[in-house]
Symmetry: D2
Subunit: 334 residues, 4 copies
């Protein structure tokens, strides 16, 4: 039984506490922390856990074997470094940190510690559809991947959602999952700004088309359309030398009614990727004994930050921007 | 240029006159007849044709090389026999005749004449979907057919439509096309009466499930549902020893809107089978020179009548009723 | 933590032991039994459980709170009655018992005990596809169900599989899930025997079409084809007054290759319904505290036996056979 | 009966002669010409036409009412100008001419003549799928188009096919049909060169992704992949403010076999667009009486040339290249 301390007791934090308590085998939440004491206390009721308002004290709690970070992104670096120092396994919701520099600090600390401790919370790698596509790609039946055509569509966003958030909050998931899918890293980024939908506002170019090129030359296009109105619609087609592989859409009944044959499109990302969250956290728990991270690592968190920075730069410049990591991928992560 | 005389100038008659005049290559309507002189005159304007009120005179017209019968079903036998006697090619809209006895008279007359003259107007054999299924079956890739699952769904019918019409007006198309598809003849019929839809009325059991067995043992189920509300929806799946073949539905765009991914279901049989009518009539015209009937023959018209009679009997008896032709299939039709 | 004793340590038994041990939240296998001591010992290693060769001793074990019966069907009645007497919750793999008479004994015992103890292991009610169809039906958007078109196709069976097994081992799943889907009970059964596939043998009519009518008049056809070669292919379409609902097929990538656009058909029933087994057992564990059975009950097990008997009789008679329970459904199960 | 003279008797020329002779209503080929007398004589047999080796003589032939140009692209300008001068209706297979300058000459000549004479042979506008998408767009139900995602995939090309031909011979069809679809003109072009498939050769970057922006800001991506191996696969999705519209793929039976559910992908562009060629030519014939061109005009031919030039420049520069016509669209074409 892995004894877990959860940092961050907002909505997503409570969801993870419920997941760890009710769905996941082999884990137990023994401590929670939040800067808002009331939130922490409320969350603690779900799992009968000790309450902290200081996350460092939670990390130091000797009963806490592993740390689950669900606090706001800007607050990740300090607990990450503290957990590494304490030698405790970490699940850190995305983003790893809000700047590439901070992500690199975490990477360097983990490498220095010499122990695989940190999993970054990009859940799509655990989605059945992406896993099926990955399996097909890895089968060797389709040759090398050449192009990926993707969409990340969302019914609508609030008025506080602005142009760079299309990268940081939305495309960030494709950034992680796609390079994993083709087992490659990114080389350059470009963003194309089509005509803006009438449902957007002055601070948001919506939709956008994000173009990524990998080091092996795979070209990726991602339509990011966050006010598409019709649904939460994630698509991914991988075109290879010997065939093309399209990720299936979630299965719902086919309905004949009113001269239409139709099926449901999800509208909520938490419904669409519900199972992926469960599988992701279960995998993190299952691999604790082996001291292995089989999901996204701190390095993947750093790569995502570097790539996101290039995309935001490309949003502004309209040009093809290089994607350059400050260091080569450490052998530690290979 | 095949010179055609058209008997029957109602809606369907005028449709065929327009088709022969504007769409079909190699045919020309030179005469039309209708017992209602006004109708005939109106139709004649479409094609600049001579007008008759007596169909026998039209058949006797020396310029008329071929006869197109679109009058009501009960009035088919006399002109059919007259045309055979005159040695003129005939296209006769379904049904060939309204009783099996009359159909057999026509068959006997054609056999006696020793010339392939009569095509019965079952257009589904000319539908692209059925032809594709037929081609797959005939490829030999799927082994012998064992079962057919079919639907014949219609949005709604008038209050004059009653239980036996589900056979005579609706399933009659499946009766013809399915035995052709599997190159077989029928042996027995059964009709199952499910719970009746709230949209039906006291004279109509709707839906019905019609079961047919062929001489080779192929078992066919046809859902006939004429007040299904949602569309004109024709389906056909052939399950074989080495695979199953499903006829495609007509292709319409896939629309994402309002949390649904949907496509159109036709609602009108004349839209659904529009192309089939054109191909059917063109084929009848094209084969005139060879004096060959490659579509449904008079024998097929007779088979349809015998099968329909058994189905109507089965509607009443609730039992498995044999389907027996009075004579064996003449070599003439093999 | 529900302490479970498992009776029957064959392949399926060990699968359930692994499931209860590794996947299910809130349960623990504390005892196992098998008439083959070696099997029991082998299975006990999975979960560190006590070993019995006498199932009644396992049931009597005071630590055992709930009993999981996975022994062969003919051996279910005795432990079922013993567990009821002991007041212990039971999950009994299908069939409840091999005769309707034995099933009724179990029903009577449970009713007499006055406590909801027994869940019968029909897992399809826990399949996502069937649950989605059920949800659509229960939404009221589609009116009353009128017809169900179903297939139960299996790639191939061994030579020991004979005609009645098409009911007992195969259609038995449809028997349970379909009446639940439409919230109804069966009234009569008929079996149609199409031409036999070349892949069958002298003791097996394959395929078969099984027809069931419910008390409300819903007509169901189930194609049972156990040597269809191409896959394990479960389909279910419910045609209602205001629309038709088709259960989705499991989602796999769409592949473009060699002039085909294709997706995978499962070939293994345990892959197809893998998730359903997990959800089913989790639900049985979850409801232990409330002393509620929300899955198939002993009454459902009895209904399945009565219906299967009528279908086997109909296989032989070729007639429509009534389906009659010896007693009315007890209020206890309503 | 429109009396047509056909210039160019190669394979495509003979196809059009057969089409005009056997399929099209209201037209008749009365003259053919080819610089190779043998070719012209061979083609003339199809339709019993007069033979010319000089196309200008054919145009001058008083019986010739309309001219059909199917000679090689580089040889189009002279007969186009001659036909305009003669006031004769023209169908000119794509490209209108091989340089934008020559296309503009033709445009200017037609405008000067003040009569709508020239239709350019881009047949996709007559494809059922594109027409359905157009109809949906024009319905107003989906708001303004924002993005188009397209593929133009071809099984394989010969070794003489080089990088610029991906524009001139392949994407040229998208160039025409897409701006018509969204009723807009192009503003800029970019070409992205992904990793090259192992099936390509040193003179050909295959695949390519072509990006076009329209004046209203619609952003289009077209995957051009001419050695994709798996089929001739044309896709087009239009993403609008209020929904997305995907063109259907051609309908073929769904086959269950060998654990796959599959349907056919075309492999031949002439099969894929067979009907479109027929509809296109029929429309050109039908509109002769009204002296109207409802298909692509000479202006569309000019636009295609200007756009193709920008794309070829973009292939070389790797940059976003402007697409600028030398003159504004004449009112004559509005």
């Amino acid at each position: 039984m892995l004894k877990v301390g959860v940092i961050g007791c907002g909505g997503m934090g409570r969801d993870h506490i419920k997941r760890l308590t009710n769905k996941i085998q082999g884990a137990e939440v023994v401590a929670v922390s939040d800067v808002m004491e009331e939130s922490a206390k409320e969350a603690a009721k779900i799992c009968n856990a000790r309450v902290y308002t200081n996350e460092l004290e939670l990390i130091a709690d000797p009963e806490v074997e592993a740390v689950f970070i669900v606090s706001p992104g800007f607050a990740h670096t300090e607990p990450l470094l503290a957990a590494i120092e304490a030698g405790k396994r970490v699940f850190c919701e995305k983003p790893l940190a809000t700047t590439a520099a901070d992500c690199l600090k975490v990477v360097n600390a983990e490498v220095a510690a010499g122990k695989h401790l940190i999993q970054t919370g990009f859940m799509r790698r655990y989605d059945k559809g992406y896993m099926q596509v990955k399996e097909a790609l890895d089968s060797g039946n389709y040759g090398e991947p050449l192009m990926l055509h993707c969409t990340h569509r969302n019914p609508e966003v609030g008025t506080n959602y602005n142009t760079p958030m299309a990268v940081h909050d939305t495309a960030i998931h494709e950034i992680d999952v796609l390079h994993w899918l083709v087992d490659d890293e990114y080389e350059s980024a470009q963003v194309i700004m089509p005509r803006i939908t009438k449902y957007s506002h002055s601070e948001l170019n919506d939709p956008q088309i994000m173009l990524l090129r990998t080091k092996k030359g795979v070209c990726i296009d991602v339509e990011v359309f966050v006010n598409c109105k019709f649904g939460y619609d994630i698509n991914c087609e991988v075109v290879c030398e010997d065939g093309a592989i399209k990720m299936p859409e979630p299965a719902y009944p086919y309905i004949r009614k009113d001269a239409r044959l139709s099926t449901t499109i999800d509208t909520d990302c938490f419904v669409r990727f519900k199972d992926a969250y469960d599988v992701e956290v279960q995998d993190w728990v299952d691999k604790a004994g082996e001291e292995v991270i089989s999901g996204p690592t701190a390095w993947d968190g750093y790569l995502a930050a570097v790539t996101a920075d290039a995309l935001v730069k490309a949003q502004e410049s309209g040009k093809i921007e290089p994607i350059i990591t400050e260091v080569e991928k450490p052998d530690f992560y290979k």
